[in-house]
């Protein structure tokens, strides 16, 4: 697990994903749309990891912020003619932050089933609103006619998704820097403390409740931005950004990659979305069966997700080479 005690400098291996993303941009132009989607979901998963993996808040309603961000950007563009991408992002972030603060402030006093139920109820309420207020949101048909002006007046969103990909990549990079800085800071250490032993954090005088609200609002803001990015890239918003299902999918992605280890949020969406792109179209009924069984197996046997397994292998390997070296001596 990465955290306060480890070396906060950015190691060379941590640059690899970004190099890979750039390489992907040049070598696989036909998959840029999928690539942009993956980048957006990585940002979304990163925001969930912050509250779930580090602060230990279990939520079924993280899609509330994602969906609010998506609809904010969509409505601003399609209904009110605000097409500047940064303005849309800013507005989505602000709305999600407000919702995160407001709901976090009231629901984070509760625990366990009650908290789970409240998060689920909040995203369900937003779903119902989006479904019913069809003059604003397009209801069941979704909101189309979203236009986004060129970024900084220079880079038009092109048909091939080149601009969209780079735009999402930059957004994710900034999000990654922020989250990384946060988890290697005393604030990050405090979050881990909250997850591991809340009573003890109370005992050493930490303002538990306010810190939870703060990290919840930060995470909500990031999720809102990810939602707005999805709207801008798709130029469409559908009801499927709200409710239980997107929250469940996101949880699956994060668990698959590995919870509370920063790069789990990178690995999970990549594996999940690529697999979905290949399998869900060809074998839709087996897709959910596979995901369900995989989730059960991961929970029972590989709690750390893919990165947890890799960690174990690396440890076993270093033990092996270590013992080999010792015997050679």
């Amino acid at each position: 697990m990465s955290g306060y005690t480890s070396d906060p400098r950015i190691r060379w291996t941590e640059w690899l994903p970004w190099v890979a993303a750039i390489a992907f941009f040049f070598t696989m132009p036909e998959y840029l749309a999928l690539g942009a989607r993956i980048l957006i979901y990585i940002l979304f998963a990163l925001s969930l990891d912050l509250i779930l993996g580090y602060a230990g808040i279990i939520t079924l309603g993280h899609s509330a912020f994602f969906g609010l961000g998506a609809y904010t950007a969509g409505i601003l563009s399609a209904k009110y003619g605000f097409t500047d991408p940064f303005f849309q992002l800013g507005a989505a972030a602000a709305m999600a932050a407000l919702l995160g603060l407001a709901t976090g402030a009231v629901i984070l006093r509760t625990k366990a089933l009650t908290l789970l139920m409240l998060t689920l109820a909040i995203t369900s309420i937003l779903y119902e609103i989006a479904n019913q207020a069809s003059s604003l949101t397009g209801g069941n048909d979704g909101l189309s006619g979203v236009t986004v002006a060129p970024i900084l007046g220079l880079f038009k969103f092109d048909l091939f998704g080149r601009t969209a990909f780079l735009y999402c990549l930059v957004a994710l990079f900034v999000g990654w820097l922020v989250v990384r800085r946060m988890i290697y800071s005393p604030f990050g250490a405090m979050l881990t403390g909250l997850r591991e032993n809340t009573a003890r954090m109370h005992a050493i005088g930490a303002p538990v409740y306010w810190r939870l609200v703060l990290v919840y609002a930060i995470s909500a803001t990031m999720a809102g931005i990810a939602g707005a990015l999805l709207t801008q890239v798709n130029q469409f918003v559908g009801l499927n950004v709200l409710g239980l299902e997107p929250s469940g999918d996101l949880l699956v992605m994060l668990i698959l990659g590995g919870v509370g280890r920063l790069y789990g949020a990178f690995v999970g969406p990549i594996v999940y979305l690529i697999a979905q792109d290949y399998l869900a179209k060809q074998y839709p009924e087996y897709w959910y069966l596979g995901i369900g069984v995989l989730l059960i197996v991961v929970v029972l046997f590989a709690r750390g997700g893919i990165l947890g397994i890799v960690d174990k292998w690396l440890q076993a390997l270093s033990r092996l080479t270590g013992s080999a070296r010792a015997s050679a001596r």
């Binding site: 079924l60 789970l116 109820a121 369900s124 609103i129 069966l289 929970v299």
Partner: protein, 288 residues
């Protein structure tokens, strides 16, 4: 106006009764084992499918089909409990939540492979079709039967928990598991039987209520929120709390659909949030 009031109350109560029969097992198992089981709706769906299949395919009579739905789901749940659930009793909330979500995904996929995407038809026997005349008003016979039969189940359940030795052991284990264990109660066996009973009841509820909550592959997802609301609002480990909560939801939801359909389920969710903020442990909850 009075006629619509009566009709909303009648259908709301029928709905609430079904919600309670399905969810009561969830309340007891969550209170007893502290296990967050999001996959409870799977048992209800399975009950509905078993019920429909044995009636339509094998021509089993209605009462026997109900019994089979109950027994099949109870037995299947024992297998699941022994094989999978029991490994996660001490594993923490996140693992339980994820595991049960996985169970929902897998069962939803299997249901879709076996039964397709349409809701399964339920053929009622002739004596439950038609209307019953009462106080100058017509009521659908099946709904009347639903209310009476559910009431019977609920009363025998309450009698079992309040008046029998098994019930006393369950209550003891809910209140203080460690103490119950140390006075010699086999809590493992108690968990297993309670879990099987709760799941069986969910299966029975799913079968009985197929007329109100159509049994299709998305069932465990679609109704998950309502089952959880019943338990969370009613209070964990309580029998009476979820009953009141289920009736409230049944009537409120029916009333909303009747008078303000444009709000959908919005009001039920909003009320849930308000109630849970007012009383985080639920209306009758004793502890977290």
């Amino acid at each position: 106006m009075t006629s619509s009031l009566v009709s909303v109350a009648f259908h709301g109560v029928a709905y609430g009764m079904i919600l309670y029969v399905i969810s009561v097992g969830l309340s007891v198992t969550m209170g007893l084992m502290g296990f967050i089981n999001l996959a409870h709706g799977v048992f209800a769906m399975a009950g509905g499918y078993v019920f429909s299949t044995v009636m339509a395919r094998f021509g089993v009579p209605f009462p026997l089909a109900l019994l089979i739905a109950f027994a099949a789901v109870a037995i299947a749940s024992i297998v699941l409990e022994r094989l999978l659930y029991s490994r996660l009793y001490t594993a923490g909330e996140l693992a339980q939540v994820l595991f049960t979500i996985g169970l929902i995904y897998a069962s939803v996929a299997i249901a879709r492979m076996v039964y397709g995407t349409l809701a399964v038809p339920i053929v009622l026997p002739d004596y439950l079709k038609g209307q019953v005349r009462f106080m100058d008003r017509d009521f659908p016979t099946y709904r009347v039967f639903l209310i009476l039969f559910s009431a019977l189940i609920i009363m025998s359940l309450w009698f079992g928990v309040e008046r029998t030795r098994w019930g006393a052991m369950v209550r003891a284990a809910v209140d203080n598991r460690g103490m119950a264990q140390s006075v010699g109660i086999n809590t493992r066996l108690l968990f297993m039987t309670t879990f099987a009973l709760g799941s069986g009841l969910a299966g029975l509820g799913g079968a009985l209520g197929a007329d109100i909550l159509p049994v299709d592959w998305a069932y465990p997802f679609e109704h998950l929120a309502y089952f959880l609301i019943v338990v969370a609002v009613g209070g964990l480990g309580s029998l009476r709390g979820p009953f009141i909560a289920a009736l409230l939801i049944g009537v409120a939801d029916t009333a909303c659909k009747y008078w303000v359909p444009e709000f959908g389920a919005f009001l039920v969710y909003a009320a849930t949030v308000v109630i849970l903020l007012w009383r985080p442990m639920g209306l009758f909850g004793v502890r977290a």
